[in-house]
Symmetry: C2
Subunit: 286 residues, 2 copies
């Protein structure tokens, strides 16, 4: 564009040197502006990003899948005064899958990535937040469909490649109330048939991995699949493509629909199928 403009300028300049000088000034000014604009758009994150925590805390109220006999155990090793001052230290035990956590591909797909093998590029990047809470709060067995994604795209534009997709069902507001969150306060095997909470349909998951080459899926429920799922097909589709899932997310109501940057850092456990996840978001400045 600039080269063409100057060629035109050059021709004019031959005849009307003063006029074209003005034009050149204008062109260079525009070039400067364009240069700035390109820089600005290619640098999305502010110098001091303000981060939003999308993670619940781990404690004795942390919710695990109902068949987990033990939940989060925090054991005191030391707590109190020593000759040199105060000192406290603890140890803990936890199933990999509970609270705000990551599902690694190997959780449901043999020979796929374990938590420590997931590249940071799959755990960080642009995200969109698809709010389906208006459907879902009225129907505990709702599964997010392709139509929900298409509706979002009508409002906000096509989801770019390599995006992290977050679904807000609204159920995050019930955490850690087991009955409201899982649909039953039972635990153990008896609870499984009575699980009623929303999830992402296998059709929507298939559509996203095939048509939008997403990085990861996350939501504010206990599982990518809805409570009544027996085959965990959504897990199998997503994890089978070596893409991780984020479950039991918090504070999704604090995110806009797009312009989100995510950093999702699971505890780096070798050979693990899942791990506690600390996940934070910041908003792009443009």
């Amino acid at each position: 564009m600039i080269t063409l403009s100057l060629s035109v300028s050059d021709i004019f300049f031959y005849y009307f040197p003063e006029m074209i000088t003005v034009k050149k000034l204008l062109i260079l000014f525009i070039a400067g502006i364009t240069g700035c604009s390109q820089h600005y758009h290619s640098v999305a994150l502010p110098n001091n990003p303000e981060w939003i925590d999308l993670s619940h805390s781990y404690d004795s109220a942390t919710l695990y899948w109902p068949n987990n006999i033990k939940g989060f155990e925090h054991i005191t090793e030391a707590e109190g005064n020593t000759p040199f001052g105060y000192y406290s230290s603890y140890r803990f035990c936890t199933p990999e899958h509970g609270g705000t956590h990551l599902d690694a591909p190997i959780h449901f797909a043999e020979n796929k990535l374990t938590v420590d093998q997931i590249p940071l590029s799959s755990l960080t990047g642009e995200a969109v937040m698809i709010d389906v809470s208006h459907h879902v709060l009225a129907d505990r067995d709702y599964q997010v469909g392709v139509q929900d994604i298409e509706n979002w795209e009508k409002d906000y534009g096509r989801i770019p490649e390599n995006t992290i997709i977050l679904f807000r069902t609204g159920y995050g507001q019930f955490y850690p109330d087991r009955e409201k969150y899982f649909g039953t306060q039972k635990t153990g095997a008896a609870a499984i048939p009575e699980l009623h909470f929303p999830g992402i349909s296998p059709a929507a998951t298939q559509w996203l991995v095939e048509n939008r080459n997403i990085k990861a899926l996350g939501l504010d429920t206990p599982s990518l699949d809805y409570g009544q799922s027996q085959e965990f097909t959504t897990h199998r589709i997503l994890l089978g493509r070596n893409k991780p899932g984020f479950e039991n997310l918090a504070n999704l109501d604090r995110l806009p629909a797009k312009g989100i940057y995510i950093v999702a850092l699971p505890m780096k456990i070798a050979k693990s199928s899942g791990a506690p996840l600390r996940i934070i978001a910041t908003l792009k400045s443009s």
Copy 2:
């Protein structure tokens, strides 16, 4: 493109030597560049940051303080085929302090912040890397002094307020070789008097919290205090100011001296004195 345009201008001004116009063009061009440059500096993080992992993995080789009887335990709950396909799931137990982990203020300072209470603003931000490995590899009992920080500032400029300070001792290269890393392969109480690894001197820590208002300290050894410390004074100074510490960091050799942005996310454990830490860095683009 812009270079070409100026060359074209030069040719024209050879025949129509209104040199003052060239100067004006040049001034506007420089003004444009300067404008860009200001934007560029105020927006430090690129659109798609490449992140460097500063975290070791947790597994049976993970190093804990020698008095920890049990290290990292990874327990299989399920692993193999089901009627619907492959499924694996595990649980784990670990002391809070071991591997790449965070020390919360309450670890050594009563009524100070627990891990879950540390604001994200203390865990993210600009960092500098002070490489003391040339001193330290020759002296296992070395304590980083004020002079090391002053020397760094002579080379790279004053450390800004609210910076995370990372010290590279070079001992990270020995992890997880217990003898090379701790100075002894003994475990239990008998190991404590034989611990020889470098740390940060109380004087340097005091200087940093008083004169540079740092956010946090981190290093590639088992402890902020050196191995021969009995009173853990460096811990008490730093944590007493409600600032966290990062220990057993990995890959500090991959960082430059400055222009670093850190995201340090501990597992969000309520009321905890420490937690496994996933810490990553990216380099500012200017």
